[in-house]
Amino acid sequence: MFTLLLILLPIVAGLALLVLPQNQAKQIALIAALATLGLTVATYLQFDANGGMQFVMDYPWIDMLGIRFHIGMDGISMLMIILSNILSPLIIVSSFKDNYTNPRLFYALLLVMQGAMNGVFVSMDMFLYYIFWELALIPAYFLVLSWGRGEAAKVTFKFFIYTLFGSLFMLIAIIWLSVQGSSNSTDIANIYALQIPAETQLYIFLAFMLAYAIKIPVFPFHTWQPDTYTFSPSPATMLLGGVMLKMGLYSIIRWIIPVVPDAVNEYGKFVMIFAAVGVFYASAIAWVQKDLKRLFAYSSIAHVGLITAGIFTVTEMGLQGAMTQMLAHGVNVVGLFYVCQILYRHYQSHDIAAMGGLRLKAPLFAGLFLVVMLASVALPLTNAFPGEFMLLNAVYAINPWICLFAGSGVILGAVYMFTSYQKVMLGELNTKANTFTEIDSLDKWVLIPIVLLIFIFGLYPQFITGLTEHSVQEIINIYNTKISGSILK
């Protein structure tokens, strides 16, 4: 029941927005988001970390193809739900200041997108999962298209088509899996039960991985991402970077590792290599960016690259690290892009060269930005550190050289973050900065919670690891048993 509500509440609220008055749209949206957050908390309180699948709803849906409406939450899903529902109120508040045209539609889309993403995280039937997967894409498309700046139209097409390109191959894979089992069922139980011959596993693996690699994105499938992030309105960017790409990472854990273990065992390391190279690649490119938002976009590629590499170690260390880091990355990305937005409001551009000396005018802003930045370079006691530590540790255990690439982000991250911070915030105050004003309470309402989250999860990552430990071990067990089974054969 909770699960269903978590999906429906935002969507219904979003649709309701369309008929409610324009001028209160943002407030109502915020209320809806907070309600969802409250619901999430309630769910979390009733959630038993060792209870496996919980709050399950499982009804037949499309008999002609044996498709079921099956949703439920284990620790992993719970964590993702928490992530998306913590962020969405912040994101909505963050958009209060810049009045978007036609706010009703804007916030409606935001909420629908949130609901759809929740759906992705809880659906336990691949067909249903795919529906939500695509459903989440549509609002994003409209958000970027209608409220984006610059070459939004062109970029949106690329973004949509490119991601769809991957998803469609995933669709083929899903169908293939479904026809293997009895009665074309796409239910998680049937999918997990399948014994797929190792050689065909490769194709399934590739099909899935293509979709996820584009969504995450993993080098070299990332080129849609910087443009999209740069040109989309900042709330959309936050949703894309904060939650949507987690859909890809989550899906790897949920749908690749247990389903095609042999292929993962066989070819996972190649993905690791690509991801690790991507870390270096993206960090290096971020270093030479002149546009702050684009810089953050590339840095995001680097971070998720590390997470991907960690996941494919298929060790508890790696997966738990991924979990921790997903949450951390979500929070930090929202922070970073909000900082971007604050700057954009003043400069009407993200050009680093134009900025400088802001710290003199806005020490508090500078401080908060500093904290967010430190979090994104994974300084200890910030939320990103435990995750990064586990991930690097796991990757290192697999192969030190891959880890060297993956770790290059630790250094390069410091390079581009600190240099850009220096150029933007420090130094003598230039003429344009003179009119810059210290952030007001509304901004604080976004940034301070983020900073708090940064420290909470930095000091007490057990919250996350404890939540997901059981489910992660389950996944790993399925994986190992299947592997060993196929080795015996």
């Binding site: 690329k158 060790t315 200890p380 435990p386 586990m390 600190f418």
Partner: protein, 637 residues
């Protein structure tokens, strides 16, 4: 080896937790009531916290007489896949000394700063940073596991970044700050990898756990070598050894008290502390020790030689720090951990003293740092002159000042290995003598070379500055007594005290040799002093202006062009490469392919559409042909 503690555990817990907590608390006060509190109050309470935690450390120190270590477990930070990282403190004889040095010297420097930073717009901010630094430094030394130590390790790095770039209006300073942080990061990455490997090897990352497992499992030399080398690289970053030392001289951009506290007394010695802390590990990896020794001694001489030709008073001291740290690593390399640690302590005293003295000079010279524009300060700044003088004596290892004992320890240990090493150590020492004397003479003796109006308000610094100086002087003079060798009937107090952590090797060499070595050393020192005196007192030479520095001196003055080298070999190429990746690979190639497919299909469409001519006759043709085609297809199949 850890005995249970009979005294009330809770009280200990509270005390121990308070020690780092108080500075942190101070930091938060600064953050939350930024501009509400006056400068005076801010300075006062900031120092008060440190003094308090110094007192608490003393309490613990006496507590430790009854036991070897106090273990405080706060909570599990994170635990996953067999790795559990507790948020726990382990106070043993090693860390308690560090704590006292940190809090002690720290509090002195805090007090000093009240005077030094007086009237700076960022006064409160400065103290908040200092408090934060002390907190992290304490975490570093109190941690009972490597990861928690790493927290402090990075934390102090952060504070150093903040404090170097304290005057953030100056982008040069900011660049220096970035440089410091980034170079440390390089080391940190290596350190992290070392920890991962260590975890694989030992299955845990708490100090005790590691040590126990080292005893249990049969050592795998190669593995251990790799681990220790990685750890050592980390130490290099933090303690400014070759090749990662270049950030330290630039770090002098920060306010002088910072240089004294962070870049001389405490933070930069973290590397030493870490290695001494894991001495069992390192002892099992002799190859690494050799490397450490070589790096150490090379750094010592290298930096010393650079210091000879520097003209910025703080830069000279910075290079001397590098060189002293080099000596400490040298000591570790020859296996004399306790000697290294001892030198660490004494160095903390006299180098802090020197920096603060220099600070007082700069303060008096209204911000001037170039020694060529000084001179003859003995008259105007008597106290400063005296304390600085003692500092110089101490660092030159003139008996019976503290430096003498610590350096002597190192040299003796080196001699045990081979006389050659002893010689090298001595040379490094002589460099120290040379540049310190040069500094002393050029700054304090001879005539003043400063401009008239500067000269007009040269003044002795206020009490709040001089008092800490005097206290430090005392420490610098008598600090040596902590570890007096048997030769002078001393009991090697510190060595014994450290024995639970650092197993001591009691090797005795014939007193004669020891006397002889000491004699030679002192002789050499005296000779160098004389030479310098001749050069700068009798000949009244003054270091030339940069323009007409010639030959090798020029190379030294330009620090062997190492910065330029790094720039040309690493930074520039990397930047070019990144641009290549972005402009060519990313935009042209990868994105080109993506867009290309789209373009291609539109192109196909524009070509294909020409088939749709609009003439019926052609359509009929197409249809007939289509029929023929499918008929053919089927008939053929």
């Amino acid at each position: 080896m850890v005995k249970p503690i009979n005294v009330n555990q809770n009280i200990l817990t509270i005390i121990t937790t308070l020690i780092p907590a108080l500075p942190l608390f101070g930091f938060f006060i600064h953050i939350f009531m930024k501009n509400k509190i006056s400068e005076k109050a801010a300075g006062f309470h900031a120092s008060a916290w440190i003094v308090l935690s110094f007192i608490l450390s003393l309490v613990l120190f006496f507590q430790l007489n009854t036991t070897d270590a106090i273990n405080i477990q706060l909570f599990d930070w994170f635990s996953v896949g067999g790795l559990t990282i507790p948020f726990a403190f382990q106070i043993d004889h090693l860390s308690i000394i560090m704590m006292m040095v940190i809090t002690g010297v720290g509090s002195l420097i805090h007090i000093y700063s009240i005077g030094y930073m007086h009237g700076d717009e960022g006064f409160n901010r400065f103290f908040s940073y200092l408090n934060l630094f002390v907190f992290f430094m304490l975490t570093l030394v109190m941690a009972n596991n490597y990861v928690l130590m790493f927290v402090g390790w990075e934390g102090v790095g952060l504070c150093s970044y903040l404090l170097i770039g304290f005057w953030f209006k100056n982008q040069e300073y900011n660049k220096a700050a970035n440089k410091a942080f980034i170079m440390n990061r390089i080391g940190d990455l290596a350190l992290l990898f070392g920890l991962f490997l260590l975890f694989q090897y030992a299955g845990t990352l708490t100090f005790n756990g590691v040590n126990e497992s080292l005893v249990k499992v049969v050592p795998d030399p190669q593995m251990l070598t790799i681990i220790t080398i990685l750890l050592f690289i980390g130490a290099c970053g933090k303690s400014a050894q070759l090749p990662l030392y270049t950030w330290l001289p630039d770090a002098m951009a920060g306010p002088t008290p910072v240089s004294a506290l962070i870049h001389a007394a405490t933070m930069v010695t973290a590397g030493i502390y870490m290695i001494v802390r894991s001495n069992i590990l390192f002892t099992l990896a002799p190859f690494t020790l050799e490397i450490i020794m070589i790096v150490g001694i090379v750094t010592a001489i290298f930096a010393g030689s650079i210091a000879l030709k520097q003209n910025d008073i703080k830069k000279i001291l910075a290079y001397s720090t590098v060189s002293q740290l080099g000596l400490m690593f040298f000591a570790i390399g020859v296996g004399a951990y306790e000697a290294a640690f001892f030198h660490l302590v004494t160095h903390a005293f006299f180098k802090a003293l020197l920096f603060l003295g220099a600070g007082s000079v700069i303060h008096g010279m209204s911000g001037e740092q170039d020694i060529r524009k000084m001179g003859g300060l003995e008259k105007n700044m008597k106290i400063t002159h005296w304390v600085f003088g003692f500092g110089v004596l101490a660092i030159m290892a003139v008996p019976p000042f503290s430096g003498f004992f610590s350096k002597d320890n190192i040299l003796v240990a080196a001699y045990h290995m081979s006389p050659l090493l002893w010689g090298l150590g001595l040379i490094a020492g002589l460099f120290t003598v040379a540049y310190m004397m040069r500094l002393y003479y050029v700054v304090f003796r001879g005539e003043g070379r400063m401009s008239a109006e500067v000269k007009s308000h040269i003044h002795e610094s206020p009490k709040v500055i001089t008092t800490p100086l005097i206290i430090l002087t005392v420490l610098a003079i008598f600090g040596g007594l902590l570890n007096v060798p048997h030769l002078f009937g001393g009991g090697k107090m510190m060595m014994h005290y450290l024995s639970p952590v650092v197993p001591m090797d009691e090797e005795h060499m014939p007193a004669a040799t020891e006397w002889m070595l000491m004699a030679i050393a002192s002789m050499a020192i005296v000779l160098t002093v004389v030479a310098m005196r001749v050069k700068y007192m009798e000949k009244k030479q003054v270091p030339e202006a940069d323009a007409n520095i010639k030959g090798f001196a020029k190379v030294l003055n330009h620090k062997y062009y190492v910065d330029e080298l790094y720039n040309a070999v690493i930074v520039k190429p990397l930047n070019i490469f990144s641009n290549f990746l972005y402009k060519i690979i990313d935009v042209q190639v990868i994105d080109g392919i993506v867009n290309g497919t789209g373009k291609f299909s539109t192109y196909c469409s524009t070509q294909l559409k020409n088939l749709q001519t609009g003439a019926v006759s052609f359509y009929l043709f197409a249809m007939a042909l289509g029929m023929v085609g499918i008929l053919l297809l089927i008939i053929l199949m």
